[in-house]
Symmetry: C2
Subunit: 193 residues, 2 copies
DNA sequence: TTAGTAACATACAGGCTGTATGTATGCAAC
DNA sequence: GTTGCATACATACAGCCTGTATGTTACTAA
């Protein structure tokens, strides 16, 4: 009974995983608009029927792919070694973040197509559901402890996050990771109280 | 002769202007993917034939709209009063930039759909063709004069530009302009040598 | 075993894009 | 001025794609 119920579940899980995997590959390679549902299912051996059975539409599959990517990135970041000094924690965190974002395709999914297809607010919700906390908490702790200046937390988080994101994009496009980190480090340094 | 040749030119210019205007309106309102060429030409009284006569495809019209927007933004920024002290120039420039980016729809065109549809490199080319120089030159001057730390110029420009862009987006989404400027100011301050 | 439901596959309707083709209008030279 | 060409458009068409409706098979619970 357990086993029979599992069989259906496994079947579903396997199909969804296949669709997510093919989706990630194609969305990364050709973008959301450039990927058609026929070629998507062709990559899995299924038909469009299966796709539309499991996901409301192409956008919903894309959202699932993006959410999975955001989760993976968040996990990579949360395994960060904890650092005592808040400012050092921010420095280490930014390096970890840039490394996490260097997974091929991740910048395209999370920073280019994601915001355009799903919208900024839905992207914010996705990030909120996973690890976006890290930067905000890091900044908050650093402000509380007096390590860096006190600034409006929400906008500061958004703006520094955008700085890191662009760093990740530049690195993905060939810029030097060390150069990017030098700028990050200088900016964080400059925020000391 | 001049006059007769002008008539054709005027006709072309008028048609293109109408397409650009309708394009801007619809692309801002419904995004690139959400805007169809039939509704685009319906907004001008023309037909799709005219559109495809003047532009290679929908993407080319979108690129023209984006380029025009980038140019308008650049012009608004270049009319900035010149300031002597490099660091003050950066401060004033950032306020002018945020104001320029507060034109409705501009953030969507230049920061959301533009990069996703045209790609980062084409967007960079567009910006290079217009006013992106401002920030780069401001940073360069500030570094030369010793006002701020010496950092890799290219990435620094990209990353600070992204910081400003996100500030513009946050403001466009309801955040306080003063909060955003406080962060900008703090970051610039912190970069002093 | 049987009824019901979930997991697919197939078939279809509508819309959209880009191109090919047709038409009219300006323009330049004779 | 009319003849011929090029430019500016309009119309028609082919192909693809999306989402839905309908059919079929595989489970599962009673």
């Amino acid at each position: 009974m357990q086993q029979e119920r599992r069989r259906q579940q496994d079947r579903t899980d396997g199909t969804r995983a296949a669709l997510l995997e093919a989706g990630r590959m194609l969305f990364v390679e050709k973008g959301f608009a450039g990927t058609s549902t026929p070629e998507l299912v062709a990559a899995t051996g299924l038909t469009r029927g299966a796709l539309y059975h499991h996901y409301a539409d192409k956008r919903a599959l894309f959202a699932a792919v993006v959410e999975r990517e955001a989760q993976a990135a968040a996990e990579a970041i949360e395994t960060m070694p904890s650092v005592n000094a808040p400012l050092d924690a921010l420095r280490v965190g930014s390096r970890v973040y840039l490394e996490a974002m260097s997974v091929p395709g991740r910048t395209r999914l999370l920073l280019l197509d994601g915001p355009a297809v799903l919208g900024l607010s839905e992207m914010d919700e996705i990030h909120a559901r996973h690890g976006n906390r890290t930067l905000r908490q890091g900044l908050e702790a650093a402000m509380e402890s007096g390590a860096i200046r006190r600034l409006p937390l929400a906008v500061t988080t958004e703006m520094l996050g955008a700085l890191f994101d662009r760093a990740a994009l530049s690195v993905a496009q060939g810029a030097s990771l060390e150069d990017a980190l030098a700028v990050v480090s200088a900016v964080l340094d400059g925020l000391r109280a």
